[in-house]
Amino acid sequence: MHNINIWLESNTFHHSQFWDLLRLIRKKEELGLTISLCIPTLNEEKTIGKEVVLFKSELQDRYPLLDEIVVIDSGSTDRTLEVASAFGADVYSSADILPEQGFKRGKGENLWKAIYQLKGDIIVYVDADISNIHPRFVYGLVAPLIYRPEVQYVKSFYDRPLALSKEIRASGGGRVTEILVRPLFSLFFPELTAIIQPLSGEYAVRRQILEEIPFPIGYGVETSHLIDVYTQYGLEAFAQTDLDRRVHRHQEIRDLGKMAFGILQTFIKRLNANGMVVDLPQLTMNLRQFQVRESQYEQIIHEIVEEERPPMQEITAYQEKFSHL
């Protein structure tokens, strides 16, 4: 795993390396790049206002790094859209983008439609549920793409204070990462284990990469991106940036089970496509969980179908809109 060590050394950053925003903006302008921020939302009225205010004020008005800030919503029933719009974001309902393609509910759907709706050469995705939001969540991810032309896809990772001693700190992902995704990567794509938090929801990607990969609409979108970009471009296409702390909602273990189920479907699909497993039986899309009610065990069946959107470059409307590129 020599390659992992080299890559960790050369392609892993800390956001503080990019504190000089004036220099970053000069380089961006020199390269003639445009950058769009996409915030996918579903009922995020408590955190969206702060995100929009901070990014608009700091990364548009003070330092013009972002060319647009766009919220793409999956059908919030709270005041998410009203709040985001009031603080200056461009707001779209996912269902209204490429209506001829229909609407599917899921974060991956919003990310996919963002490729059509947003105009930037680079799209940076930031989740809306981060309560300690800070401009570093954007510039820390965008900077490696600006300074390093060979980098195509930048993932975030976060400090998790699991102190074992003064010298050693286990820096890793969340529960689903450590008990599902990293073991799977270790088996099938060992180099991808170097991505410290493969499921982190914040990443910046060049348009030419985004438009050529499929998008699972649900839980599997981050995993599929990593595998698809890796199999085509190798580990060298990736970089990762430490964004320090990320404070967000804690998910229940049952919800993590659903997430793991969706990710597993996406993963198996790619193993199949790459010929890494053969002769798998027809798999069920039902996740079975159990609960106890008055000393009786009840089975709860969740049907989780990890549908995928095709690469955006195959969509005629997209080809027409971006034909100049």
Partner: protein, 384 residues
């Protein structure tokens, strides 16, 4: 409209000023969040001051620096620069560094520890240079923006006191900015003494509980003759003592404040308290003593002072009713140096010094407008 010419000119501009400030709303909000999410307990403000200085540098201020007590400052040079107006907002909060400092922006309010006291005030400092430039305002006087450290509790306003005592720049006038409430117009300081009485019992020789001794002292405090004419009062702030219900307490502490319009009255009550403590300590195995946390002097501007009058007119012109209270300890360091100063609030807030502290978003541009209005009038020379 009466008053000096510059004031009349500036008052005419005031009604529309809050609207002119609309484009800076997000910048002000972002600064509230950015500064407020950096913990700054009293005596631990370094990181927050570093951020403030970075903001000053970004705005092109000169002499962005810190002094020996960690105050953060920057200067916006005026066209003439023959006078210096000081605008200050204290940097510290009563919240420990380890507490959750996450802010939320909800429809109509910003919530978070210290948002009103005093992230909003600091945000005004950080935003002011950009706003003045954007509005095309070029002051004649130098504008010195200062974020003093060590203001609260044991800090005893050490930061601002140090600056005013040691600065080589003669300050003409001071504006102290606090986050809330809008309508605050403080221009006088009461004499005050904030202190902590500690009772300690050596259980080897005394079986009394320290709480009993403190209780007796509290009763005696209640019997001290107060003077209504000088608005003298004793405020019992907090009590702490013992560790378990099973054993007599070895220690007990009372935090309190004496306030009065008259310095003499505070001094004489202080002497009475010291005498009470001496008597209590005559008991075998008992010690009782006073630790002074903070002191302020009585004084300040008169209600008819041009600075106060102008501030009042500006507030009324933009529909803000000045609050009845005229006293704030923040004025004391200025009066100690004979510098005329007023303290203004930016917006309305509540739950001060609790984790769910909040401040309203809508009035804050009006609050910012009054600061700019007063600044212009002082700069025009009508407030001396």
């Amino acid at each position: 409209m009466d008053g000096a010419p510059e004031t009349v000119r500036q008052l005419a501009r005031m009604p529309g000023l809050a609207t002119e400030l609309e484009p800076y709303r997000e910048m002000l909000l972002a600064n509230v969040v950015m500064v407020g999410e950096i913990p700054a307990p009293t005596f631990g403000e370094e990181e927050r001051i570093r951020f403030i200085k970075q903001r000053f540098t970004e705005c092109g201020l000169q002499s962005c620096s810190s002094d020996e007590v960690g105050n953060g400052m920057g200067i916006l040079p005026g066209a003439r620069g023959d006078k210096t107006i000081l605008v200050s907002a204290h940097a510290d909060t009563p919240f420990a560094a380890g507490e959750n400092h996450t802010f939320t922006i909800e429809p109509g309010i910003i919530r978070g520890p210290g948002v009103a006291d005093n992230s909003m005030g600091l945000a005004v400092l950080a935003t002011l240079p950009t706003v003045l430039e954007g509005l095309g305002i070029k002051l004649q006087s130098d504008l010195l923006l200062l974020a003093p450290t060590r203001s609260l509790e044991q800090g005893d306003q050490q930061g601002i006191r140090f600056f005013l005592s040691n600065s080589t720049i003669p300050i003409t006038t001071g504006i102290v900015v606090e986050g809330s409430p809008l309508g605050r117009l403080h221009y006088r300081s009461m004499a005050s003494l904030g202190g902590m009485i500690s009772c300690i019992v050596d259980r080897k020789v005394c079986h009394l509980s320290a709480i009993e001794i403190l209780n007796s002292l509290i009763s005696q405090l209640g019997q001290i003759e107060l003077c209504a004419q000088t608005n003298t009062a004793v405020v019992l702030g907090s009590v702490r003592g013992g560790v378990t219900y099973k054993l007599p307490a070895r220690t007990a502490h009372l935090r309190f404040q004496l306030r009065s319009d008259a310095d003499d009255k505070v001094n004489s009550i202080n002497r009475q308290i010291l005498s009470m403590l001496d008597d209590a300590a005559k008991q075998k195995g008992v010690s009782a003593y006073l630790e002074v946390i903070a002191r302020t002097r009585s004084g300040g501007l008169e209600a008819a002072h041009p600075l106060v009058n102008t501030a009042r007119k500006i507030m009324r012109t933009i529909g803000v009713q000045p609050k009845a209270s005229i006293y704030s300890s923040t004025i004391s360091p200025y009066l100690e140096q004979d510098i005329p100063a007023v303290c203004l609030g930016v917006s309305n807030g509540d739950n001060l010094n609790y984790a769910d502290e909040y401040i309203e978003i809508e009035p804050m541009l009006t609050g910012l407008a009054q600061v700019i209005g007063l600044l212009l009038c002082i700069d025009g020379g009508d407030c001396a």
